[in-house]
């Protein structure tokens, strides 16, 4: 067994190239996944790499370092399109978890109920992946390839997320549904980004649903159908939601039935879009 503390990015990539070390940052998924068993044989600690933590803008995009914590997201000075991501950040576990858990950890864990994924999908996040043989970027929607599965290959690690800069008028929202208020794994969750034209009709729409399929997903059909609609239509036309949720494939488990998830997802989509249209802060 070994515990490696990376002192530089290259150092980390070398360790990954030479070992099958599991990366540890906030530990909020690594430790629970151990159950009552021993720790992984090799761990690579990336929390000492300052380059991996932080939020800034470069080349017309937001860059969120892989080891940026959820509490950093909560505190960040983002435009209103990020309101959904910030709301999700405040619901990743409790305060203790938000102070440890990282954005990249959340996507690499690839839980169908990962809180960060739906808002990041609506933000069109791209994942930067590095290894000793180079750097590549991949859309988040392709990076998470299944429940608990990612496109990460041996020797690779996520180093950052990139989010294109969006118009300041876009509003983001995130709604999470669970059986209790805090420290809860979602039964269903929805993130939405909406922008309105001068007639208060939707001109820009992105909606993603989590915990209702193996991987959280955008609903392009719904997004297209929303273009041009008025708040009244959004509020009153229930057919709008049900007909475009077909891509979802919710399961029945202890948290909720398939039927329940489908219905709840429709309600949450509607409420998230309406909330965006109300243009309240935060």
């Amino acid at each position: 067994m070994g515990y490696h503390i990376a002192t530089s990015l290259n150092d980390a990539l070398d360790v990954l190239a030479q070992t099958r070390a599991r990366i540890i940052a906030g530990g909020t998924d690594v430790y629970p996944s151990m159950g009552d068993g021993p720790p992984p044989a090799e761990l690579l600690d990336i929390t000492r790499l300052d380059a991996l933590r932080g939020i800034d803008q470069e080349n017309g995009a937001w860059r969120i370092g892989a080891a940026t914590r959820w509490s950093d997201i909560v505190k960040a000075d983002f435009p209103s399109a990020f309101n959904g991501l910030k709301a999700a950040a405040r619901q990743v576990g409790g305060w203790q978890i938000q102070n440890a858990g990282t954005v990249a950890g959340n996507i690499c864990n690839a839980s169908p109920a990962a809180d960060g994924v739906p808002p990041l999908l609506t933000l069109d996040a791209e994942v930067e992946v590095m290894s000793t043989s180079g750097t590549r970027r991949i859309a988040l929607s392709e990076f998470i390839s299944g429940a608990r599965q990612t496109d990460l290959r041996p020797g690779e690690m996520v180093t950052a997320l990139y989010i294109p800069i969006l118009p300041e008028t876009i509003q983001g929202r995130f709604l999470k549904l669970g059986t209790r208020k805090y420290l809860v794994i979602s039964i269903a969750m929805v993130a939405a980004l909406i922008d309105l034209d001068e007639n208060q009709r939707i001109r820009f729409a992105r909606v993603a649903v989590g915990a209702c399929s193996a991987v959280a997903q955008r609903l392009p059909g719904l997004e297209a159908a929303l273009i041009g609609t008025s708040p009244k239509t959004v509020a009153e036309d229930s057919s709008l939601w049900r007909s475009h949720l077909a891509p979802l494939s919710p399961i029945t488990d202890a948290r909720g039935s398939e039927t329940y998830r489908t219905e709840a997802a429709a309600t949450l989509c509607r409420r998230a879009v309406l909330a965006c249209m109300e243009r309240e802060d935060g």
């Binding site: 490696h4 530089s8 906030g26 909020t28 159950g35 102070n99 209790r180 202890a254 909720g256 329940y260």
Partner: protein, 920 residues
């Protein structure tokens, strides 16, 4: 780069001191702090970030120490409660405020709560309750219902908190006498006593609900594993490989033999050096499993083709109970209205934040066991049989208990460490993981209940027929108690002349069901109290007035034919809710009209339910003994063996004793519990400690007082006080000074002693359940105000109003604490809690309420003195959750019109019921 295989040296600042430690790769900071740096104020509840008990500050930020790799703390600043309390003024204010609000009950979550609160108050000096709720949302508490904690944090921010008047006499809301250690990180719980160098035991458990098994070559396994000292199986049990709690139902093996009967059952244990066991892989244990078809659930157990799980129990029926009076069936035929229904409830997990842990060693040829327990003397009796040892060679010296709620009555981990300590002749410790705790210890019985009730047109009850089947799981535990208790209580606190209540407990391959706050009565109350609402509705009567009309009064017989001359306070409880009820129902109505007009999916509702609970064992002796002595220096020492599991026995029993003796409670020294030094205070169960041990304390205090007074022939009304080496007795005429230094001390150093026992007067029940099951009942009525989201099926509790007849509140502050905590558990049972073996074996899949789920509670304390209770006091511990779940279900019905007959009423269940009823 830094890299390490064997050991990882780390240095950081811990509580303002520089420390160094060598951690194994992947070691959690919580382990390093507790085991290498002796910071056992850092509590471990789940090792998964689900409970927040291990919260420490790293560079000022609250994090779960169980999720941080120790090297990540290198060079940083780490603060724990025990440090903060010495140098951080906010922590010191929090400690005072927590004490003033009795915000620490068992105290196991307190370090995590207070450390998080320090971080909050540094950022937000005067937070609102809403801000505190969110900040503490990551720390679970199972005792308090959170509201006292939230109040304490807000008051600490303001710098002002309530201070009770009085000197601690009966009725004074004094701070907990044992509270200081809980708010400073000094309290020692089950896992906090083990000494360095102790061997560590881990358990091999069945992964199947039912499976045969064969071990491989254990000798070879033992010899090939370095650092392993012993392997234990059923062959290593020198006495009987059985334990249990009810004579005639002692059926659970310490280690399964040939067949495991539930998932999580222990079949073997490995004992080794701590460093080896820290990363030991139990999956390599040489065992071969042969899974067999399991009997899952009540229907499967009762099916004619079901496997018979225990010999001598045909049809898997463990036992049954019956109470009947009058003629239920003909009364139901004569009734003007009837209501009936089938109800189901789930396995409920106690979910105390402290998993089981124990530490055992041999000292002077005697076995010593330190572990949290609710029943030290019962534990010793069972252990003597298992170990084949005389009881006097076993000493049980319990630690503080980090929550019990019934499950820590039974033996669990104690026999394992005892066997290991005897076999290795070395100190041995063990700690259950959260999964082990949840898999292997007892649960609340799942129930299937059929109930029919009737009433006349004038609203008086007319006939009730109850048939309840309870899943007792793989072993009996307290199943017989549930089967006996439920028929006595299923009427609720009402006058029911024609009654027939039968109960059956069946064996399955589920986890053993045992004692859990209420012993089956919370389940039966769900059926009875929701159908009472339906009767009232059918009669177009107000639901509260219907209950008041039928409430039991002094002089009326219970369904067991027992008649109380006094102390039946249910009507007063229900009447106390009247103003809030009228106001709440009207407000909900107005809200709903507005919601309908604005097409909002939110609906509000107000529900009421009542409950009663007989204190002490059902028609069986359950004495308590309390002893006290006076030292030559004037110190009064109270030998208090009644386990305080957070509810406050250490304080309440001392208050009663002090009142009877006539000295201030604060000067009294409390020792115990410890089977070597305290007499048997009985088990902390059945809401009996305030009543039964309280009476023993009262008798002991009175006896000691008589002995003092008789020395100077003073009158009974004399005032006592102590001075150095003296007792001062002030009679109306003169003042006597007794020089205690002149009196000969006994071998314990006491110049005077008293020891008294009390056993509640009960009588056996006849074949129809008629008799005197309990010497006293306590009474309760709860009102729940909720909001339902008709589109999502979510239910949010907005407020509770609770009225409890406690006879005489010994300490009103602790009464409120019990009420809050019971309501939180009732809310969990009603809305979210379901233990599913293999699926909800952790605290993120098994959900208990958080700070954000538990609304404010208004408590009315009703005092209708009991004939037998000390100063009229009644028990309370279980009454507090009995009405909660049905009050919530009735509130859901008021809000939405739907009647839910299964708990938990999760959003999925509620929405399905709404759709079935045609909503949306």
């Amino acid at each position: 780069m830094g890299s390490s295989g064997a050991g990882f040296p780390v240095a950081f600042t811990l509580n303002k001191s520089s420390v160094q430690a060598v951690a194994t790769p992947g070691e959690r900071l919580s382990y390093t702090l507790r085991e290498r740096l002796a910071r056992r104020d850092v509590k471990v509840g789940c090792n998964a970030g689900d409970c927040g008990a291990c919260t420490v500050l790293v560079d000022g930020e609250p994090v779960c120490a169980c999720l941080m790799a120790t090297p990540q703390a290198s060079g940083r600043t780490v603060d724990t409660l025990a440090g903060l309390i010495t140098y951080d003024p906010l922590a010191q204010r929090l400690a005072e405020s927590f004490q003033a609000h009795a915000a620490a009950q068992c105290g196991i979550c307190t370090p995590g709560m207070m450390v998080t609160a320090v971080a909050l108050l540094r950022r937000v000096p005067k937070p609102t309750p809403e801000v505190v709720e969110e900040a503490l949302g990551g720390v679970l508490c199972r005792c308090t219902g959170y509201r006292k904690i939230i109040d304490a944090v807000c008051d600490a921010g303001r710098g002002a908190w309530p201070e009770p008047p009085g000197t601690g006499e009966v009725g004074a809301a004094i701070r907990k006498l044992d509270g200081q250690s809980k708010v400073t990180g000094q309290e020692l719980f089950s896992d906090d006593l083990a000494t360095a160098g102790s061997l560590v035991l881990r358990v091999l458990r069945s992964p199947h609900a039912r499976a045969g098994f064969r071990f491989g070559n254990l000798e070879a396994y033992l010899s090939e594993a370095p650092g392993i000292e012993a392997v234990l199986t059923a062959d290593d049990v020198p006495g009987q490989n059985l334990f249990g709690v009810i004579p005639g139902f002692i059926d659970q093996p310490v280690f399964a033999e040939h067949e495991a009967r539930f998932r999580g059952e222990a079949v073997a244990a490995v004992v080794g050096d701590a460093e080896v066991m820290q990363t030991f892989d139990m999956t390599r244990f040489p065992v071969e499993w042969v899974p067999r078809p399991a009997v899952e659930g009540i229907d499967a157990a009762l099916s004619p083709c079901a496997e018979q799980l225990h010999t001598g129990h045909a049809n898997n029926v463990m036992c049954s109970g019956l109470v009947r009076c009058g003629d239920a069936d003909s009364a139901l035929e004569k009734a003007d209205v009837t209501a009936e229904g089938q109800f189901t409830t789930a396995y409920v997990e106690h979910a105390y934040i402290e998993p089981e842990a124990a530490f055992a060693y041999v000292e002077n040829g005697r076995l010593v066991i330190h572990a949290g327990t609710q029943a030290p003397v019962m534990n010793r009796e069972s252990l003597a049989l298992i170990l084949g040892m005389d009881e006097d060679r076993i000493r049980i010296a319990p630690t503080a208990v980090g929550g019990g709620f019934g499950s820590k009555l039974d033996l669990s981990i104690q026999p394992l460490v005892a066997l290991a300590a005897l076999k290795t002749d070395r100190p041995v410790r063990a700690t259950y993981s959260r999964a082990e705790s949840m898999q292997s210890t007892t649960k609340r019985h799942p129930a299937q209940i059929n109930l029919k009730v009737g009433a006349k047109a004038d609203g008086t009850l007319c006939g009730m027929r109850f048939d309840g089947t309870f899943n007792t799981g793989a072993y009996a535990s307290w199943g017989p108690t549930v089967a006996n208790r439920v028929p006595v209580h299923a009427s609720g606190p009402y006058c029911v002349a024609d009654y027939h209540a039968a109960s059956t407990a069946v064996y399955t391959n589920g986890p053993p069901s045992g004692a859990f706050r209420g012993f089956g009565v919370p389940q039966s109350a769900i059926a009875q109290e929701t159908l009472f609402d339906e009767l009232a509705e059918a009669l177009e009567m107000d639901a509260l007035e219907f209950r008041i009309l039928n409430a039991l009064s002094a002089g009326q017989p219970t369904v067991c034919g027992q008649v109380f001359d006094k102390g039946v306070g249910i009507k007063a409880c229900l009447e106390a809710l009247r103003p809030a009820w009228k106001e709440g129902r009207a407000a909900a109505h107005a809200f709903n009209l507005d919601a309908e007009a604005h097409d909002s999916p939110l609906r509000r509702g107000v529900g009421v339910a009542a409950g009663w609970y007989g204190c002490g064992n059902t028609s069986l002796p359950n004495p308590s003994t309390i002893r006290a002595g006076l030292r030559a220096d004037g110190t009064v020492v109270l030998h208090q063996g009644a386990m305080d599991i957070g509810q406050g026995a250490n304080t309440v029993i001392a208050q009663i004793f002090a009142q009877a003796l006539g000295l201030p409670v604060r000067g009294i020294q409390i020792v115990g519990p410890d089977t070597d030094i305290t007499p048997d205070g009985g088990k902390t169960s059945a809401s009996r400690q305030t009543f039964v041990s309280g009476n023993a304390a009262k008798l002991t205090g009175e006896a000691l007082r008589r002995r003092i007074l008789s020395m100077v022939n003073a009158s009974e009304t004399s005032n006592l006080s102590t001075a150095e080496g003296q007792i001062v007795v002030a009679d109306t005429a003169q003042t006597h000074r007794i020089d205690l230094t002149k009196l000969p001390p006994d071998k314990e150093g006491y110049v005077l002693q008293a020891c008294e026992s009390y056993d509640p007067p009960t009588k056996p029940l006849d074949e129809n359940g008629q008799g005197i099951p309990y010497a006293q009942f306590g009474y309760a009525a709860h009102m729940a105000e909720i909001e339902v989201d008709l589109s999502l099926g979510t239910v949010k509790a907005r407020r509770f109003t609770a009225a409890h007849d406690v006879g005489q509140a010994i300490n009103p502050l602790l009464v409120e604490g019990q009420v809050h905590g019971g309501i939180a558990q009732g809310l969990g049972m009603a809305l979210m809690e379901e233990y599913l073996p293999g699926r909800t074996e952790n605290l993120h899949d098994y959900l208990i309420p958080t700070t954000g789920d538990m609304p404010p509670v208004e408590t009315f304390i009703i005092e209708d003195p009991d004939a037998h209770g000390p100063y009229g006091a009644k028990g309370l511990g279980e009454h507090v959750l009995i009405p909660t779940a049905p009050a919530l279900l009735n509130a859901i019905a008021h809000a939405s019109g739907i009647r839910i007959r299964q708990v938990p009423a999760t959003p999925s269940v509620v929405l399905a019921a709404l759709r079935e009823a045609g909503h949306g």
